[in-house]
């Protein structure tokens, strides 16, 4: 049986991709999950894994050519008949690159693939001069990341009737709980506050399914799986939002580990298809930049977007006395076709309750 390997869709705003290179040739036997090619989208270079096992019988796509989503890139003769329907998945964790922030920024601006560069810095770190040598030689991107984001945001505002809510909550107990976890002898990776907050959001989403799912073909489908996208601003401009998949079954340490890996690979342009296409909700954390509140635009076809502001000190009321405490503003942008202010408020209330009593939820 002949199976067609097609250009995957890696986001609502993607309608084409640039084919970069083949990792296999005609006659090669390919195992399931084996890396077979690299494609470039406006947001990232993505490795494609073979979803099936078989032999490559025809190569169609040529390097540096642009193909619409759904175009046939190659054909494979399957080892056995498999009637399951699924999109191609991409490679498992790629080799981590050591890259200086300035080099990363220049590579993003110039659209240079960092995996092709040999670093001259300590321990093979890719430094600014390693990238600047290639600057100006990179192929023109399909469309800029900024343009891709603009399309998505315009579509969202046109199609989704947004409503907005905000809650402010004291995070002193959460900070204390995270510090306690980071001080245990068994802790290896430092637990990051964004990871702790994402874990809490996932726990709240289990009780509020009208915030987690997709609105397509004029109906809302809630998802049991919580695939939480984290909006990451690229230094070259624009936003990418890869997802931590399956958060409904992850503990805090797993979330933390996966988030660290995700951010690292997002900057290297080495993300998986599923991480870019399967988000059921997105979180934007602009606290790092000093903003206290962010009312974001929902990524269609999702139905909600959560904003995390900067953790900062304010006067808080504690047992009828006023003291200085750390607080965070949590915002919700939600689709009014699916939920309303009451359900949105209840969701935020659940989140705040978990943040104020985190000991039981932040378990190893």
């Amino acid at each position: 049986m002949i199976y067609e390997i097609k250009m995957p869709s890696l986001g609502a705003d993607m309608d084409k991709g640039r084919f970069v290179e083949w990792k296999v040739k005609v006659g090669d036997h390919v195992d399931k999950d084996q890396e077979i090619a690299v494609i470039e989208t406006p947001k990232a270079a993505v490795e494609i894994d073979s979803f099936r096992a078989g032999k490559i019988v025809e190569i169609i796509a040529k390097p540096d050519e642009v193909y619409p989503v759904g175009s046939i890139l190659a054909k494979m003769e399957l080892d056995f008949v498999d009637t399951s329907l699924a999109e191609p998945i991409v490679s498992p964790e790629s080799k981590r690159l050591r890259i200086s922030p300035a080099a990363r920024k220049l590579a993003e601006q110039e659209g240079i693939d960092l995996s092709q560069i040999k670093g001259s810095g300590p321990d093979g770190t890719i430094e600014f001069q390693d990238v600047s040598k290639l600057s100006g030689q990179a192929a023109q991107p399909l469309i800029s990341i900024r343009e891709a984001v603009a399309r998505t945001m315009a579509r969202s505002k046109k199609e989704i009737p947004h409503y907005y809510l905000k809650s402010k909550v004291c995070v002193d107990k959460l900070i204390e709980a995270v510090d306690k976890l980071n001080s245990t002898p068994t802790s290896q990776d430092r637990i990051l506050m964004p990871a702790a907050l994402m874990h809490i959001l996932a726990l709240a989403l289990k009780k509020h399914p009208d915030m987690n799912g997709l609105y397509e073909h004029e109906k809302f489908v809630p998802h049991f799986e919580i695939n939480m996208g984290m909006a990451i601003a690229l230094k070259s401009g624009g936003v990418i939002a890869p997802a931590v998949l399956g958060m409904e079954k992850l503990n805090l340490f797993s979330v933390n580990r996966i988030l660290n890996d995700l951010i690292s690979r997002a900057r290297e342009g080495k993300l998986k298809t599923s991480e870019l296409t399967k988000s059921t909700i997105t979180v934007t954390n602009l606290g790092d930049l000093g903003s206290h509140e962010v009312f974001g635009v929902i990524f269609p076809p999702q139905v909600a977007l959560i904003g995390l502001g900067q953790v900062h000190k304010e006067a808080v009321v504690d047992n009828n006395t006023i003291r200085a405490g750390f607080v965070i503003d949590i915002t919700l942008s939600a689709d009014h076709r699916v939920s309303d202010g009451l359900s949105g408020s209840r969701f935020l209330q659940s989140v705040c309750e978990l943040i104020m009593q985190p000991q039981s939820v932040l378990k190893e």
Partner: protein
């Protein structure tokens, strides 16, 4: 641990996290994240390396208060008897 030793560790760590940065060009008394192109994940990465090298744990609450390299040096020097 003396402040000079801590400063040396921070300088070595910055060479790994941000190799282009010349430590001697930095103003230690001004917010360092404005001087180095560093987001929160770069910051956590740097602090994790400094914690490992100095064996001083930097609590989450302190991270939000320490904005200059001078403050970071002083904190670590003052708490250098703590064990991770």
């Amino acid at each position: 641990m003396k402040e000079d030793e801590v400063k040396k560790i921070i300088e070595e760590t910055l060479k790994k996290v941000a190799p282009e940065v010349n430590f001697s060009d930095l103003n230690l008394d001004k917010p360092f994240r404005n001087q180095i192109d560093m987001d929160s994940y770069d910051l956590y990465n740097m602090l994790a390396k400094i914690e490992a090298a100095t064996h001083v744990r930097i609590p989450e609450a302190e991270i939000r208060e320490i904005t200059t390299l001078s403050a970071l040096v002083k904190f670590i020097a003052d708490h250098s008897s703590e064990i991770l």
